[in-house]
């Protein structure tokens, strides 16, 4: 029991405490251990964890094949893929001039070939799939069901249009005309009176047109109606404010979880 429970908790506590407080001391041995060796150990263990994950995958997929579970035919491909990658990593270099060790990053090796023509396209395409899902969800699911969602979608749309070249070719005057029309629709839905609507739209159109003639229709003035400026303002200020409050919250959350780990209050890593 002590091996399975108390020692891991002790390790977390001691290592966590040492790394945290090394930030506050000038004791050389202590500091250099944390800065150099302890971090190296961490990376080495993380590499072993990757091996553990890989071997576990091999185990699960082979079991699936041996027991002929549903879809076992596909598991064969997973095992083949894993073995192929290990062969490229450890058995066949493909380029005799390159030394073992540098072959994983050097040109002309089988490993590099595998990266360029297998890992890269598959990984990139998996991510690119999402473009399609975003498109269909934007048509079928993104609804302005309340004020919050409206704000979110409007700021998202302004960023999306304002960031790309198309947006910088849309004149601020176009946006102002658009706003007048939207205001008209709003007036109509509130008062349900055609006269009011007509008056407000007409006066809005006249106002925009007159000021347009006075200012000479500049593309990017007034700035708040020019999408590239507007998106820049949104992402530099209100967005930063929102992001910052989340950042502080996340920081606190991580801090408190870390402290709970170090003090042994939180023990989820051993399944408790």
């Amino acid at each position: 029991m002590i091996w399975k429970r108390q020692i891991p908790i002790l390790i977390v506590g001691v290592i966590g405490f040492v790394t945290l407080f090394a930030n506050f001391t000038t004791l050389h041995g202590f500091k250099s251990f944390v800065n150099d060796d302890a971090t190296q150990w961490f990376d080495i263990l993380a590499s072993f964890a990757i091996w553990l994950g890989g071997l576990n995958l091999l185990k699960l997929q082979s079991q699936k094949i041996l027991k002929k579970q549903e879809g076992w035919e596909y598991s064969v491909f997973a095992v083949i893929g894993l073995i192929f990658a290990l062969v490229a990593g450890f058995v066949i270099k493909g380029e005799p001039a390159v030394e073992w060790g540098t072959h994983v990053t050097a040109k002309g090796t089988l490993f590099k070939w595998m990266f360029t023509y297998m890992v890269a396209p598959m990984q990139a395409t998996m991510f690119a799939l999402l473009a399609f899902y975003v498109a269909s969800a934007s048509y079928r699911a993104f609804r302005i069901r309340n004020f919050e969602a409206t704000l979110l979608l409007v700021s998202g749309i302004i960023i999306m249009i304002g960031r790309v070249p198309l947006g910088s070719n849309i004149s601020s005057w176009f946006c102002m005309y658009l706003l007048v029309l939207i205001a008209g629709v709003t007036v109509n839905s509130i008062f349900k009176n055609k006269q009011y609507t007509a008056i407000s739209v007409a006066s809005g159109l006249i106002l925009v047109t007159v000021s347009g003639f006075i200012m000479g229709w500049p593309l990017d003035q007034p700035g708040i109606f020019y999408l590239p400026y507007l998106q820049e303002w949104i992402y530099k200020f209100p967005n930063v404010a929102g992001a910052r409050s989340i950042m502080i919250g996340i920081g606190l959350g991580i801090f408190s979880t870390s402290v709970r780990y170090i003090l042994g209050i939180e023990k989820s890593y051993i399944g408790e």
């Binding site: 150099d36 971090t39 048509y139 999306m160």
Partner: protein, 284 residues
């Protein structure tokens, strides 16, 4: 009018595979037949350009590549343009990678720009220091003693035998840092462990998704400008007057954004009509 409303409602129930098809065409067609929309730089992109322009001829620039194949379309054009900009202004470029895949892609970029376009000499005009594992520990290492982290470069040459490494022992010996970053470790680690401690100027290019995370640092002045995603890359390409992959993707990007916005608007139109009808049917 009724016809229009019915069409909108009917469209709302369309199989989503039609939408997939539309998006595929919307992206593909402008790639094949470009519209050449003019590109205008946003202020944050201009800041990056100005920061590089301000460096005196022959400055020592550190370029760190932290991205992989899945984010290549966004970051790679930035790295290429940044290299072009540096070489044109006669700067020396030192390349490091915090991501293992970053090295493949950085090699590709150096091949294209330094070898083919500028025909520069390795070891004198540019050097590829390569990937070192350890995430922020590598950044910390470069700040305290670069030669401990890098005893050899990516080609196996001893650092002491590389002419342009003369006088470079730590992060403060560089004049500028550019990080092409797609996540952890990347820009944020460079800010926290290197730039905040030394005051060496730094700019960054990040994936669109990361922009929001990095923005507070840019706003606070810790980072000088940011190239945001592929549009940021395109703007930078245009500032240095050498359009590339980023620029050619911009038409597709513009049209795709427009179509997605139209989708949102149309979808919500259908939603409103339906809601109104339901209200009427219920009798209020």
């Amino acid at each position: 009018m009724d016809f229009l409303i019915n069409t909108i409602l009917k469209l709302g129930k369309v199989d989503r595979r039609w939408i997939f098809l539309i998006i595929a065409f919307v992206v593909l067609i402008p790639l094949l037949f470009p519209l050449s929309l003019p590109i205008r730089a946003t202020a944050t992109t201009q800041l990056v350009y100005d920061a590089v322009e301000k460096l005196p001829h022959g400055s020592k620039v550190l370029l760190s590549c932290e991205y992989g194949p899945s984010t290549k379309p966004e970051i790679h054009p930035m790295v290429i343009s940044f290299l072009k900009h540096c070489f044109r202004n006669g700067h020396k470029v030192y390349v490091t990678c915090l991501w293992p895949d970053g090295q493949f892609l950085a090699d590709e970029a150096l091949d294209e720009v330094a070898n083919n376009e500028f025909q520069l000499t390795y070891g004198i005009d540019y050097v590829m220091l390569g990937f070192r594992p350890g995430n922020e520990a590598v950044v910390k290492g470069i700040v305290s003693d670069l030669r401990k982290v890098y005893t050899i470069d990516s080609r196996g040459t001893k650092i002491t035998e590389i002419p342009m490494m003369d006088g470079i022992t730590k992060f403060e010996d560089f004049d500028f840092l550019f990080s092409g970053s797609a996540g952890y470790p990347g820009t944020i680690e460079w800010v926290q462990y290197a730039v905040d401690q030394t005051n060496i100027p730094m700019s960054t290019g990040t994936t669109s998704i990361q922009v929001n995370e990095v923005m507070p640092y840019v706003q606070a002045g810790q980072v000088q400008g940011i190239l945001a995603g592929m549009p940021g890359a395109a703007e930078y390409e245009n500032l240095i007057g050498s359009p590339g992959i980023g620029t050619s993707g911009m038409d597709a990007q513009s049209v795709a954004h427009l179509v997605i916005v139209l989708f949102i608007v149309l979808g919500n139109l259908g939603y409103f009509i339906e809601r109104n009808r339901e209200k009427k049917q219920r009798g209020y």
